[in-house]
Every structure is written in structure tokens, then in C-alpha cells.
């Protein structure tokens, strides 16, 4: 038993946005969330379907695939720059079946909390969500980046070592990743 296994969580009241354009990805993530007890899951196969959900429902957590044509990164940027508080701050776990170095840099600069390589596992989802809730991670607004703070020792989850560490990366891993100018978000407090 790992030390983190004894931590207690209640996922039942969470509202989770799930964006994945692959039937397999949607099915697996949906089953994991259902198994965790999440009762309200917004399943969207496209960015176009996800935007109105974000505007109307304000989910507590988003699991967004990188999507065909890297549309997932654009959706994350849109959330961080265009959505009002508190939705612009929601933790975002990005999943990806295949990543090139360019993809990783893009993922890290768009404002995600974690990039998780598929296959997605229940253990990974619990660990990452639990860490997000323990870390009190600052949120940064600058001309070139809007999203969870990417630097500093607190950005590296202590539990992520060894095999699983290779399966996901935090923005701290890519603090020096290329960054592109962003619009500043308005109305954030």
C-alpha cells in the first residue's frame, strides 16, 4: 500500500467536463469517473460542444484530450483567457495518446495543470486531482502565459517518481518551453 492510498476523497459532488474525440478515450475516462463516484459528467466530443458547457455549467474539473489537430490546446487557451472567474481557474488535466516534443511544449504553454499520456488510469487521475487540491498552486497572468504557476519546487508533485513520473509531466517540467503571446484575461480577481 502506498502512503497516498490512505488519503480520503469524495468525488461525488464534482462536475467534470470530459472532452475527447475518440470513442475509446471517452469510454475509458467516463468509466473511471463513474467508478470514482462522479455523478455529473459533461461528455463532449468537440471543442464546439464543450464551449457552451463551460459557459453555462462551470464544471469543477476538466479532462481535455489534445484532440485531432491539437484543438485541445486552443480550448485550454480559450478557457484561461476568455472565461470569467471562477471557470478560468478550473484545474485542467490534458490527456494525449501521442505527443511530439512540439506537442509537449504547446501543452505546457497553453495553461494546463498536467499532461497525462494515455492510457489514462484511475490511479493517475486520483493522484493528480489530489495533488492539485493540496498544492494551492498560484495562478499567473502575464503577457506570455496565463495558467497555473509553472516554476518552483511546489510545482513538482512529490509522489510522481519512477514509472508514473514518465507518464506525465507538469508545467514545471517545461518551464523553459517556448511560449507565445496571449491576450490578457479580463475580470479575473
Amino acid at each position: 500500500m502506498r502512503p497516498s492510498d490512505a488519503a480520503r476523497y469524495d468525488f461525488s459532488e464534482l462536475e467534470v467536463l470530459l472532452v475527447d474525440d475518440t470513442p475509446v478515450g471517452m469510454m475509458i475516462a467516463g468509466q473511471i469517473l463513474t467508478g470514482l463516484g462522479v455523478r455529473k459528467i459533461y461528455r463532449c466530443e468537440t471543442v464546439a460542444a464543450a464551449r457552451p458547457v463551460l459557459e453555462r455549467c462551470g464544471p469543477d474539473l476538466a479532462i481535455i484530450d489534445s484532440l485531432t489537430g491539437s484543438q485541445g490546446y486552443a480550448l485550454v487557451r480559450w478557457i484561461r483567457t476568455e472565461m470569467p472567474a471562477p471557470t478560468c481557474y478550473i484545474p485542467i488535466l490534458m490527456t494525449a495518446a501521442h505527443t511530439t516534443p512540439d506537442d509537449v511544449a504547446e501543452a505546457m504553454s497553453c495553461g494546463i495543470d498536467f499532461l497525462i499520456k494515455k492510457p489514462l488510469s484511475a490511479q493517475t487521475l486520483i493522484e493528480r486531482t489530489g495533488w492539485i487540491c493540496r498544492a494551492d498552486r498560484p495562478f499567473v497572468y502575464s503577457d506570455v502565459y496565463i495558467g497555473p504557476e509553472r516554476r518552483g519546487p511546489k510545482s513538482v508533485p512529490p509522489a510522481l517518481t519512477g514509472e508514473r513520473r514518465q507518464a506525465s509531466v507538469t508545467p514545471a517540467d517545461a518551464a523553459e518551453a517556448p511560449i507565445v503571446p496571449l491576450r490578457r484575461a479580463g475580470g479575473a480577481s
Binding site: A7, Y9, V24, I28, Q31, P138, V140, S142
Partner: protein, 159 residues
């Protein structure tokens, strides 16, 4: 003029909700979620067969439309990643990610690689036909060796 960097620490609703009183241990939750995922093992396996058939058709089209066929194979392999772990064939996921790597690398080249794609599709079929839980490290190593032949090759510019 550069605007100053601003830092806030938002109170996330997700934190309040999942750390509320009660709840279940992470170990219990992980087991429940794993059991839940196991319910779709059959669907995942069926999807892998469907994707394989489509990938084999796309592979047959490589000589006619190289870039289109490679893009199709990439998309099909990407769609299957994750299903292997659910239906007791984790090496399937490694094979599919490898096929993504291969088709991505081949997309940067103007010729060759059809046999390498075919070998990956044959491995895809073999893994699906084998009983769940069976592992073949030599097969994965062989595929990796094939991919290394095409990885990192500079883009060839047509004259």
C-alpha cells in the same frame, strides 16, 4: 509596454468538494474505478478490431496516396491508445503509440516505410489474437528496432 505579471491563488471548488467529510480512501476509489473500466473491456477489444481493419485498408492505399494513408493510419492508431490496457493487453498501447511515432516520422519523408507499417499492423493483429495477459517483449523490441530505422531522418525535399 509590457504589463506587470499578476499572481492570484484562487479558491478552487474542486478542492472543497473532494476534501469534504467522509469520502473513500484513494485505494478503494482506484479499485472501484478499475472495476468500472473493466466493464468496457469487450467494447475496447471490438473497437481495436474495427480500427485494425480500417488501418489495414489505409495501409493498402499507401502506394497511391502516401500522405493521406499515413495520416489515416496515425489517426486510427491514436484512437485506439488506451484500449489495450483495458482489455488486458498493455503491449497493444505500446504498439499503437509506436505506430503513431512511425507514421509521424514517415510523414516527414517522401518514400519508404510501407513494410514497417505493415509489420506494425501485423503485430497489432497478433496481439489481439493472443490471449489476454500474454506478453511478448521480443515483439515490442523488434517493432522498436524497425521504428529506429525511420526516426529522426531529415526531411527530404523534392527537387
Amino acid at each position: 509596454m509590457t504589463a506587470p505579471t499578476r499572481v492570484v491563488t484562487p479558491a478552487l471548488r474542486v478542492c472543497r468538494l473532494i476534501r469534504g467529510p467522509g469520502g473513500r480512501t484513494a485505494a478503494d476509489l482506484a479499485q472501484a474505478a478499475t472495476d468500472s473500466v473493466a466493464q468496457v473491456a469487450g467494447s475496447c477489444e471490438a473497437e481495436l478490431w474495427t480500427l485494425l481493419a480500417a488501418a489495414e485498408r489505409a495501409c493498402a492505399g499507401l502506394p497511391r496516396d502516401r500522405s493521406g494513408a499515413l495520416a489515416e493510419i496515425y489517426a486510427l492508431a491514436r484512437r485506439g491508445v488506451g484500449a489495450g490496457a483495458v482489455c488486458g493487453r498493455p503491449q497493444m498501447d505500446e504498439t499503437l503509440v509506436g505506430l503513431c511515432d512511425l507514421s509521424h516520422d514517415l510523414g516527414r519523408q517522401t518514400e519508404g516505410g510501407a513494410q514497417a507499417v505493415a509489420v506494425h499492423l501485423e503485430a497489432w493483429r497478433l496481439i489481439l489474437q493472443a490471449p489476454a495477459g500474454q506478453s511478448d517483449a521480443a515483439l515490442l523490441e523488434g517493432l522498436a528496432t524497425v521504428r529506429r530505422r525511420f526516426a529522426g531522418t531529415p526531411v527530404q525535399v523534392a527537387p
